[in-house]
């Protein structure tokens, strides 16, 4: 690998982060655009969450005896009622470990 490849990859990464902060001026976006942008976390994070939970290492759908699905559902329930980020993460992780270590899922 050449350092130039790393440098270009770094520039591309930086430009994606910097471009809109640099280009968009304050109040250029109307209320409707702001409303739609408020959906950005909801539009991106599930795309990061879903594939590793529902797909196995070979990339095919794994819905049977998949402990991650049960742990994720439990985390959602805990998150819904507690509204706590830490409680949500630990609830999911603890159920996941119980399922794989105690119940050999």
């Amino acid at each position: 690998m050449h350092w130039s490849l790393i440098f270009y990859a770094g520039v591309i990464t930086f430009v994606t982060r910097f471009s809109m902060i640099f280009l968009l001026k304050k109040d250029i976006l109307n209320d409707r655009a702001k409303k739609i942008l408020s959906f950005v976390p909801a539009a991106i994070f599930p795309a990061i969450i879903f594939p590793p939970i529902f797909l196995d290492s070979a990339g095919s759908l794994d819905l049977e005896s998949n402990p991650q699905i049960y742990a994720a559902i439990f985390a959602i329930i805990v998150g819904y009622f507690s509204r706590s980020i830490i409680a949500t993460i630990f609830a999911g992780l603890i159920l996941y470990w119980m399922l794989i270590f105690l119940f050999n899922f």
Binding site: R17, L24, K26, A43, I44, I49, Q68, A72, I86
Partner: protein, 232 residues
Amino acid sequence: MNNKLKTVAKGIIDVSPLMIPVVPFGIIYGVIGMDLGIGPYMTLGLSIIIFGGASQIVLLQLFSGGASSLVILSSVAAVNARHILYGAVLSEHLSSLKLSWKIILSYVMTDQAFAVSNNYFKKNNKDKNYYYHLLGSGFTCWTIWQISTILGIVLGSVVPEELGLSFTISLTFLALLISDFRKFKNIIVMLTSGIVATIGYNTIPFKAYIIVAAISALIVAVLLTLIDLKKK
């Protein structure tokens, strides 16, 4: 403690729980770099110059598979495209800052820092040093990422694979969405994103499934807000 430091500290505290999976992820990245034989300096160099876990791992995967530079850089761009949307969201709060601040805060804008600092910006519009929150959250991510990269380089795989810590990555992003669980429209948007990404994971080239899923979900969001307008 002055107000700026207080806001930095708030950023550090808010992002800390999200750092749980970053440590094993950084260690895994360090191990992959060493396994591929690019050496300790380049492995750490990627973490400092690119500073984006997913981009770094995609770059290494494609490089080891013998992909051309064009394919590698296109894939890095596709993986990073979501940051353009983060920037658009944050521009409302950051567009009036000095250029040097924009550059520094852009460099440390990770998924986790974006999520917690965007929430802080929305709730604390009276704090005139609000942007120090992103400084705190962003540099926490940066520091943890560099330390865990070094741990991976020096110690190798010290985290047992059986613990399934990669699942914690999914859990932390899920935890960042807890305020969306109560809104019906957001649930539809989240399901669209997740389903498109799962279907597209194997079929969309250049690892572009995240941005394709995000744009599909935002189109659904536009349609949902249109329905709202008609009702009024």
